[in-house]
Symmetry: C2
Subunit: 158 residues, 2 copies
Amino acid sequence: MNKLDSTSPRFDLIELFFFAYRDFTGDPDVLLDELGFGRAHHRVLHFVHRNPGLKVSDLLGILKITKQSLGRVLKQLVDEDFICQEPGALDRRQRLLYTTEKGTEFCAQLSKLQSQRINKAISLMPQGSDEIVRQFLYLMIDENERSEVARLIGKQPD
Amino acid sequence: MNKLDSTSPRFDLIELFFFAYRDFTGDPDVLLDELGFGRAHHRVLHFVHRNPGLKVSDLLGILKITKQSLGRVLKQLVDEDFICQEPGALDRRQRLLYTTEKGTEFCAQLSKLQSQRINKAISLMPQGSDEIVRQFLYLMIDENERSEVARLIGKQPD
DNA sequence: TCAAATAAGTCAACATAGCTGACGTATTTT
DNA sequence: AAAATACGTCAGCTATGTTGACTTATTTGA
């Protein structure tokens, strides 16, 4: 029989994942806090920045939250000029989302912090580790969502 | 100059980390929900299970939440017989935490789900990938906390 | 062309899980 | 005996998620 079947407990990775994610998200929290924002604002800002002209309904699909939840943080981000909305050219019911200059700048600061943490980690590891890590994280995503995430990540506008 | 300096944006890994963690924590949510529990309960249950006889103050240190926050979920877990408390033998002010049989069983169900996801991912990857992944996650933790996390994970009671 | 569907926003009420501050009780330390 | 410690608890606040109901503007389709 198999000593390492698919249900063998992986407490080490379970716990490492928990602590790693906590510290990974902890970096931006400091900057967000200074502006009275939280993680919800970060997520919205990030995905709008990465997908300029995003439809509200698509953002809801990415974040998997209700429009009421989104509405609250989105309103703040628009009011404080981090995000702007433009009616769709083809469908004027849509309010396509874009980061303003201020929003783009702030977003860059946040990703810089997180990229630093990632790059520091990778730099201490064997060649090719980033590809392994990417593959692992990708395979941890629900199978039926992988293709959509791949599509989302595929566009490298920066 | 370096094309890949330490601040090069890593949008791919940032986003993969987000989606991977979301689905990773999503598995247990279903079971937790059936019992009226949330992720907070899961975390408490998990770390008590993994560290039988844990002091309340040490649990607070691991979770980095306030005792008021912990108190709420801990009380529920004790009331519903998933966790029990015993006065410390040396210091009777302490209420050392243990999972009950019911708690241990439930905890096993939850870790099984998460381990399945992890093992499925690893099984699709090259030999030795789990070591790379472990190393990456470890290095993503704040430098000054790594040793303590290592200590915590080091004990493999299962 | 007009009715139905769609994209988005909004109001109200609620739940979870974090927070601060203040205070109580039992026990140990000094 | 006083101070410190471990833990618990009360009250109230915040952030971010949820449902359900409803409005407005616009597009689609019978």
